[in-house]
């Protein structure tokens, strides 16, 4: 099968970007979407053109490096998977497929499809941790955690930090990302001492980075490659309100 790719190209010279169309060579339906881009890039290279820059690394859906908005959807047509786990068999022979970068003010474009997501690191630096120094921790079994609580914390902790939630949101809100980390740590007994401080600091940093507000459209949940649910945003809102009522800043 073959596809026609409409790809966003943008240089580093400050000039405006635009779409270019590239017909693919014959593809094997079992190829991954990124392997298809590899093949197209090899062709471009041999033709003396610059290959398409795109982010990728583990290619097994866990590192969160790959991005891409494919036909208007972050991480492509299938639910619960990242772009690197999207396969050519999800498209039909002859389809035109539109490929764009994640777009959000807080994720500046470097080149073509590559964006910078440092804002997420800065949100974690503001409070996405439990303050324990190496050494001196009590025995791991001295603090039982109910299985359902541990499982729910794990559901939230699965977030891969890819930023698809931001790219899908009309407000470019990072609430799902922040809510996942706040919920993971605030659910666990270990996270209690910093509970209020954490949510306040992370939300403050989220706002400072220029992410928009949440209007509960649910588009983030729909594109999350780890199926992290909106209920965590509700949980974070409660955490935030409780901290506010206690006069925490």
């Amino acid at each position: 099968m073959r596809l026609r790719l409409r790809v966003w190209r943008q240089g580093q010279d400050g000039a405006a970007g635009g779409f270019r169309v590239y017909p693919t060579p014959e593809l094997n339906p079992n190829m991954s979407f990124l392997e298809m881009l590899d093949v197209v890039n090899d062709e471009l290279t041999l033709k003396g053109e610059e290959p398409i820059a795109f982010d990728h690394d583990c290619r097994e859906g866990i590192c969160g490096t790959c991005s891409l908005v494919i036909d208007g959807k972050p991480h492509g047509p299938r639910r619960g998977v990242a772009t690197c786990q999207t396969y050519v068999r999800s498209f039909r022979d002859g389809d035109e497929v539109c490929i764009e970068p994640f777009r959000a003010r807080a994720f500046p474009i470097v080149k073509d499809l590559v964006v910078i997501r440092k804002a997420f690191d800065r949100i974690i630096e503001a409070g996405g941790f439990i303050s324990v120094r190496t050494g001196g921790a009590p025995d791991a079994n001295s603090l039982p955690v109910a299985k359902d609580v541990a499982e729910m914390a794990m559901d939230a902790a699965q977030c891969i930090g890819c930023g698809a939630c931001v790219a899908a949101c009309k407000n470019a809100s990072a609430m799902l990302f922040v809510a996942a980390k706040v919920s993971h740590l605030n659910l666990l007994p270990q996270g209690q001492p910093e509970r209020e401080r954490r949510v306040m600091a992370m939300v403050r940093q989220m706002d400072a980075e220029g992410f928009g507000n949440c209007t509960v459209t649910g588009s983030c949940e729909a594109v999350c490659p780890k199926n992290i649910g909106l209920e965590f945003i509700a949980r974070m809102n409660r955490e935030y309100a409780a901290a506010l009522l206690k006069g925490k800043t």
């Binding site: 490096t65 690191d121 190496t134 299985k147 914390a153 794990m154």
Partner: protein, 638 residues
């Protein structure tokens, strides 16, 4: 030159305590004056950066990723070992130590492995305190499972995402230090050379992958935690951008490279499907707890698995290794799969695959219990193959997965270049000729949280920060010029072949001749082929674009250029080691039943290769493996 392992005196159980008691210390007020460079932010790099930052040192942590949370430790699925003995099934520090030494086929350093087992218990405590959501039982206590090469359940896990959760724990500790200003986290930054002044590691040269600018960074100690070199095989379970450039530059600046031929091939990966393929995906070894591996007894039996009756199936691991069964160590399981497929009994379209079957476990435990244990792995399998493993068995085949070899380090994890520390998969120290499952995470975190902070302090106490060479020193200028020259060389070839095509070809040579089974004529041939290919690369590679700005082709070209040289050294090491041990199987050295024939009389040593200048053969340095408390015995899992 002799390699000094500097192992402390006393019994195995006393050594690490003695080291810590006698280690030199740096006054708390002086710590901030010491600069430490850490390259890499996987489990080892992130944990050592965070811990050194907590201690008060001035740390810079460099990663090529856009965020330190993306290192490939994140992809480890199954679990982390620790000698906690929570299930009371007979585990102990001594037993974890012995299993690891035996699993490594008696080619690792005894004192290091003992220390690893000793600190393993603290890792779990620390990670739980950080909020790592390990699996729990209904009573709220931690759950364990078993892994290859062990008869106890000592593996802690977080669904099939243990590496991710441990890495996010270490990353959050690193982020906390970054927020406090103790660690500077530099992303999109690739180390391209090591700067050595007066025989000591004193800095690095870094390329900013976004702007293309080169920069110089000086330090009192340099820590490499950059992972393994398995991507020289092209197709592997590594992340696409994992690379050997940092350790290879260090090798070229004088750091010895130990046991490069000890490369692990993992038995349970999704089989290859075509030439375009960019990576192979691992299915965690933990699946072997409940999955049974089999092939048809009859050669060429093409019936679908459900139509092959029980008595016509060969559960070959259970047959060959009755006491460990499907949990036989990785090297044995991988080789058995290859042997079975070579006999023509492999399954799937290519015949390069064996079944991993959960039908019996689903019948015994129910699909829900299996989903809870391995749900995400079954999902991954489904995404890639479009097949449902709850209904039909998975097809798996071995793939390149991990490298036990790496830069040589002493007991303090310092290379023969003083001031250069090497942690995690990048060093050679703990896994000998074969690594057991769930031990890589243990080693990365042991090195980073609990070992290197002590040994680096011990070294720094001998250094005077005010005498640290500045970045205007001639050695920095020379290193930067050589990086610049190499980049220009890559860009100026403008040949007819892509970097990817060279990488693919190199990978095929290595897989064929230096993979699961090796022999002298094959290795000789591989060396010739690699030298030819390397020569063609420098005449005919096409690297488009320029050095200013983001250029992914240039990044990959530099990494592949290094793989040629490392591949040659790997073949040379495999050729010189005239024995079979662990992952290194020389066909000339086997017992009639096909088991590996180790030669302790001649090869009970670490082979550390030292660069002796361009176009000169490397020099072999031997560190004898003198065991004080363990006896060399033939490994048996039967």
């Amino acid at each position: 030159m002799r390699l000094e392992a500097k192992i402390p005196g006393g019994s195995l159980a006393e050594k690490w305590g003695r080291f810590k008691d006698e280690a030199r210390l740096v006054n708390p007020a002086n710590k901030r004056r010491y600069e430490i460079i850490v390259v890499g932010a996987g489990l080892a790099g992130a944990s050592v950066s965070a811990t050194l930052g907590e201690l008060g040192y001035a740390v810079k942590c460099f990663v090529y990723h856009d965020s330190p949370r993306r290192a490939h430790s994140i992809a480890a699925q199954g679990g982390i070992n620790a000698a906690k003995d929570y299930p009371s099934d007979g585990d102990s520090v001594r037993r974890l130590f012995y299993d690891t030494i035996k699993g490594g086929d008696f080619r690792s350093r005894e004192a290091n492995v003992y220390r690893l087992a000793e600190v393993s218990v603290k890792i779990i405590d620390h990670c739980v305190a950080q909020g790592v959501p390990f699996a729990r039982e209904y009573g709220g206590l931690l759950d364990n499972r078993s892994f290859g090469g062990a008869q106890v359940s000592r593996t802690f896990y977080a669904r099939g995402q243990t590496g991710q959760q441990l890495l996010l724990g270490a990353y959050s500790a690193l982020a906390r230090q970054a927020g406090l200003g103790a660690v500077r986290s530099l992303t999109h930054s690739e180390m391209l050379d090591l700067v050595v002044v007066g025989g000591q590691a004193k800095g690095i040269i870094v390329r900013d992958l976004v702007t293309g600018e080169l920069s110089r960074h000086a330090a009192d100690a340099v820590v490499l935690a950059t992972g393994g070199y398995g991507n020289l095989y092209n197709l592997s379970t590594y992340a696409r951008n994992s690379n050997a450039t940092a350790i290879w530059r260090a090798y070229q600046r004088g750091a010895a490279f130990a046991n490069p031929c000890f490369t692990q091939i993992h038995p349970t990966c999704i089989p290859m499907s075509g030439d375009y393929q960019s990576k192979l995906t691992l299915m965690s070894e933990s699946l072997r707890n409940d999955g049974r591996i089999w092939v048809p007894k009859q050669k060429g039996d093409r019936r679908p698995p459900a139509r092959i009756p029980e008595q016509e199936r060969d559960y070959y691991l259970e047959r060959m290794y009755p006491s460990y069964g499907n949990l036989a160590p990785r090297d044995l399981s991988s080789r058995a799969a290859k042997r079975i497929c070579d006999e023509g009994r492999g399954v799937g379209e290519s015949g390069l695959g064996v079944y991993l079957d959960f039908a019996e476990a689903i019948g015994r435990l129910g699909a829900d219990r299996i989903r809870e244990r391995y749900g995400n792995l079954f999902d991954i399998y489904h995404e890639i193959t479009d097949e449902n493993a709850y209904e039909a068995p998975m097809r798996i085949y071995p793939a390149m997965h991990y490298t036990m070899g790496g830069l040589w380090v002493d007991y303090g994890l310092m290379s023969n270049l003083p001031g250069l520390f090497v942690l995690g998969e990048a060093n050679f120290s703990d896994h000998g000729a074969n690594r057991l499952g769930a031990s890589a995470l243990m080693q990365g975190l042991a090195d980073g949280y609990f070992i290197a902070p002590h040994t680096i302090s011990d070294y720094l106490a001998t250094q005077r920060p005010e005498q640290r060479p500045g970045i205007d020193h001639a050695a920095f200028a020379e290193a930067e010029a050589s990086v610049r020259e190499r980049i220009q060389r890559l860009l100026s070839v403008r040949g007819q072949r892509t970097v990817a095509s060279f990488h693919r070809q190199l990978g095929k040579i290595m897989w064929e001749h230096c993979g699961l089974a090796r022999n002298a004529p094959g290795l000789e041939r591989a060396r010739g082929l690699i030298a030819e290919l390397r020569d063609e690369f420098w005449r005919n590679v096409n690297v488009p674009g320029s050095a200013g700005g983001l250029n992914q082709s240039l990044e990959r070209a530099g990494r592949v250029a290094d793989y040629f040289e490392l591949a040659e050294l790997t073949c040379q090491d495999a050729l010189h080691r005239e024995e079979s041990c662990g992952s290194h199987f020389r066909e000339e050295h086997q017992y009639p039943d096909g088991e590996a024939k180790r030669d302790d009389e001649h090869f009970a040593y670490v082979a550390a290769w030292r660069h002796d200048g361009p176009d000169r053969p490397p020099v072999l340095l031997r560190e004898p493996l003198a065991y004080e408390e363990v006896e060399f015995v033939q490994r048996s899992y039967k």
